[in-house]
């Protein structure tokens, strides 16, 4: 605590600013201490990445482009090339390969963790499946770290890679790890709209586009003219109208909901009416095409590639899409889950973003967790050792392996009439309609019923061909979708219980007279940490949140 207070004064603005922005951006549902630590190490992260050879943008003097706000601005610089995540990942990947060469890390590619082994209340190992041969293996250790990412694909369509799933964390949850804030999901406002039934994934357009693009829909839903033929007076630049001071730059959740609202009013554009225009005509007139091209060229060509339309000529169409999940396994300040010896990092945990994540902060958090937090905290745990050896024949290990085999056998034996993907799509649709941008008591109850029916149907009617002893992608997906059903249920329950609106969680029953999210700090300033209930209801544990350094305020971007 002393150190924190001292740093506040010493560091001047930058660390504090990032801390403040993150707490506020998370709509006061993140743990203050975690966020402060994140802001503190953010500067070291940049040093570490540069040392690893991440090619950050440089100014002509050779210094990093823009550094005044710690992590935030640097990430903004990356946006110029739209490759932040990828480049940081390559840096981390190369560092990992170096450790593999040094034989300090053994890598098992194409293996999937399917069960956690808990012995005497401690996480002591995992059961994994070799996805090429189907071999089921056990691995034992003094501690287990899960860094298995977010669960956005519970919605089927999201900006996440198609392989993202909840299985690792969900399996740990079933073994006793609490799942925190599962209903906190982020819907990103600038994605390319769905083009048809076949859609398998959604593509994000960088948020930076909102700096120069203007968002609008026709004033009238009847207006089906070519957008270029619609005169100014017939357009509704709704963000500029409703939020005059932030305009097109309001936070993600607000921009997303506003887009949904205009589409719900029947004013959406493009196929199915699920889209709004993001128009660069003004920017091109003001800055000239070369300047716009220099700034956004690769994004424009990506858009043209996907849609077959030229955004220099005609406005882009965008629509919100699921992008990030703030919820995840509950962890303490040391990133330890409620099962001792289980550590969770990155998007898989719930730690730093509260009810809404700010741009560019996911990678900062993941790298902070892995590079700077875990190496310190896990040592503390290991100092309690040595722990007794666990043998393959330990009942807990035997039980875990049997559970994995039984589940695979079951999935392969149903031999029903529907494909895994058809179930996944239907689940995703239910989640999007009732547990997406807007949630209501009635809708969530409907969703819960539907998910439970679907889950039953899945286990009695899914068709997974082939065997376990081969590369079987449908089998892999089936296991993941089965876990998504259970997660989806918990998300709806969490959303039902949280009868307030905050960040990405908007309950229609809790809004200000002008339709903004209305928090209820007296009742809901807590983290919901759910304990797995088996066949019965899950049990809610509340971790109260205290704000000592940032005053709790209603967000306002008007």
């Amino acid at each position: 605590m002393a150190r924190r207070a001292k740093n506040y004064r010493n560091d001047g603005d930058s660390v504090y600013r990032l801390f403040y922005d993150t707490v506020k951006g998370g709509d006061f549902r993140a743990r203050e201490s975690n966020v402060y630590r994140l802001a503190e190490v953010s500067v070291e992260i940049i040093d570490q990445c540069v040392a690893q050879g991440v090619p950050f943008a440089r100014e002509y003097g050779g210094l990093l482009d823009n550094r005044s706000f710690g992590g935030v601005q640097v990430s903004r610089t990356f946006y110029a090339r739209g490759q932040t995540g990828q480049q940081l990942l390559i840096g981390a990947y190369q560092a990992l390969e170096r450790q593999i060469a040094a034989e300090t890390v053994a890598m098992h590619t194409r293996h999937e963790m399917l069960e956690l082994i808990v012995v005497d209340g401690r996480a002591r190992g995992v059961v994994i499946r070799d996805m090429v041969t189907g071999g089921i293996e056990t691995h034992f250790a003094d501690a287990v770290v899960l860094a298995t990412g977010g669960y956005g694909n519970v919605f089927y369509l999201s900006t996440n890679a198609v392989g993202c799933n909840v299985t690792a964390t969900w399996r740990a949850h079933r073994k006793g790890a609490y799942f925190a804030n599962p209903c906190f999901t982020q819907i990103h406002p600038t994605c390319i709209p769905v083009s048809g039934e076949h859609q398998s994934k959604l593509t994000l357009m960088s948020e930076s586009l909102r700096n120069d693009g203007r968002i609008w829909v026709p004033k009238s839903g009847e207006d089906k003219r070519d957008p270029r033929k619609i005169p100014e007076q017939d357009r509704d630049y709704y963000l500029e109208r409703i939020y005059p001071s932030f305009g097109n730059l309001v936070p993600r959740d607000i921009a997303s909901r506003a887009a949904k609202n205009v589409c719900d009013e029947g004013r959406g554009v493009g196929p199915g009416g699920l889209g709004v225009y993001l128009d660069f005509a003004d920017a091109i007139a003001r800055l000239g095409r070369p300047a716009v091209e220099a700034k956004y060229g690769n994004l424009f060509s990506m858009y043209a590639q996907i849609t077959g339309e030229d955004p220099y000529q005609t406005p882009m169409r965008i629509y919100p899409a699921v992008h990030y999940t703030m919820g995840g396994l509950w962890v303490d300040y040391d990133l330890q889950a409620s099962i001792p010896g289980l550590y969770v990092t990155g998007e898989a945990n719930f730690s730093d973003h509260g009810a809404n994540r700010l741009g560019a902060s996911a990678l900062m958090q993941g790298l902070a967790d892995g590079y700077f937090v875990l190496p310190n905290t896990i040592n503390d745990y290991l100092a309690d050792g040595p722990f007794p050896k666990v043998a393959e024949s330990h009942p807990a290990a035997v039980e875990a392996v049997q559970a994995v085999r039984a589940r695979i056998d079951k999935l392969l034996s149903v031999n029903g009439s529907r494909t895994v993907d058809s179930f996944h799509k239907e689940l995703g649709r239910v989640m999007w309609d009732y547990c997406g941008m807007e949630r209501s008591e009635e809708g969530l109850r409907k969703a819960l019923n539907r998910i439970r029916e679907l889950k039953k149907e899945f286990w009695s009617d899914v068709r997974v061909l082939g065997t376990n002893e081969e590369l079987n992608q449908a089998l892999e997906r089936a296991g993941r979708v089965a876990d998504f059903f259970e997660l989806g249920e918990l998300m709806c329950i969490d959303a039902l219980v949280r009868r307030e609106s905050c960040g990405g969680h908007f309950r229609v029953e809790s809004q200000t007279p002008d339709g903004e999210a209305l928090r209820d700090d007296d009742e809901f300033a807590y983290v919901s940490a759910w304990e797995f209930g088996g066949d019965r209801r899950p049990v809610l544990h509340k971790e109260p949140l205290f704000y000592e350094y940032v005053e709790m305020k209603q967000r306002s971007y008007k």
């Binding site: 070291e44 940049i46 040093d47 570490q48 990445c49 540069v50 040392a51 690893q52 050879g53 991440v54 090619p55 950050f56 943008a57 440089r58 002509y60 003097g61 050779g62 210094l63 990093l64 090339r81 490759q83 990828q86 480049q87 990947y93 190369q94 560092a95 390969e97 170096r98 060469a101 890598m107 590619t109 090429v132 890679a161 198609v162 083009s195 048809g196 076949h198 859609q199 398998s200 994934k201 593509t203 994000l204 990506m302 590639q305 996907i306 849609t307 077959g308 590079y371 700077f372 190496p375 009439s417 494909t419 993907d421 068709r463 061909l465 082939g466 081969e470 590369l471 992608q473 449908a474």
Partner: protein, 270 residues
């Protein structure tokens, strides 16, 4: 539109493979190539036939997982990744051949899925900068000329997809290796290991069974990230310097000043 796919089917790495023919009707031009395979797989599953195995993850051209050979061209006709190829690049009635990457160091696991872990081992042989966590100096301590940073970035955009190998008549992975050498070798942080890196990576490249580069240039014609051919000249220069100065025993020290200047001239040719 209606198309016919002729797809390589191979049950596992030991099995013999063959082309199988599938008609796929009512395709929308907005579908990506992988989405056509998705649709076909749904149908095959309902008919009780084994769906086609193929890799993909990001489906937005940045992870490098999805490559297949389409009508004889790695990633197909658009010089982009397979996941970013859309059906509007094809016409109604087309017959399209779909095959896995063909190169000995990339063994087929099943159907269109190949094992690209040889690339990981090339990286392990030196494709990194040794920077133990927590020891990093201030990022501003070493300025990087903007031009170098930009070029390093261009090379760093390589997504390790392996199309360059699939396209090369020699099955060479030189473009991939050169992209990494260029990315790390242009940055001041990469200088201490610059020569041991090139020696290690090229040796591993050969151990994995990738062929030598004979300047054919097919690789750059299919590379979705447009990694320039000149990166290979750069790799060769570094390799010659390293070998003439003592090979892998090259001391881990910064290059001499005159070598750095030579660098500046080279860049113009890019």
């Amino acid at each position: 539109m209606d198309i016919t796919l002729r797809v390589w089917r191979q049950a596992n790495s030991r099995a013999k493979g063959k082309m199988a023919v599938y008609k796929v009707n009512d395709i929308s031009e907005h579908m990506s190539f992988l989405e056509v395979l998705d649709v076909l797989n749904e149908r095959l599953t309902l008919q009780g036939e084994d769906p086609i195995a193929f890799d993909s993850d990001c489906r937005e051209g940045i992870c490098g997982m999805c490559g297949v050979v389409i009508n004889g061209v790695a990633h197909g006709p658009q010089q982009t990744t397979t996941c970013q190829l859309h059906m509007r690049s094809f016409s109604d009635g087309d017959v399209i051949d779909v095959e896995p990457w063909r190169a000995d160091p990339f063994p087929v696991i099943k159907d269109l899925v190949v094992d690209r872990s040889a690339f990981d081992r090339i990286i392990q042989a030196g494709g990194y900068i040794s920077a133990p966590t927590g020891t990093a100096p201030d990022a501003h301590a070493t300025p990087v000329p903007k031009r170098d940073a930009d070029r390093a970035f261009d090379a760093a955009t390589c997504i390790s997809c392996g199309a360059c190998v699939a396209a090369c008549p020699n099955g060479s992975a030189m473009l991939f290796t050169a992209a990494k050498i260029t990315h790390l070798g242009l940055l001041p942080q990469g200088q201490p290991e610059r020569y041991s890196r090139v020696v290690g990576m090229v040796a591993q490249h050969d151990v994995e069974g990738f062929g030598g580069c004979t300047n054919i240039g097919e690789c750059t014609a299919v590379c979705p990230k447009e990694i320039p051919f000149e990166t290979i000249s750069r790799l060769n220069r570094d390799l010659i310097s390293a070998l003439t100065h003592g090979g892998s025993h090259w001391p881990k020290a910064a290059p001499r000043r005159d070598e750095l200047e030579e660098e500046e001239d080279d860049i113009i040719g890019f």
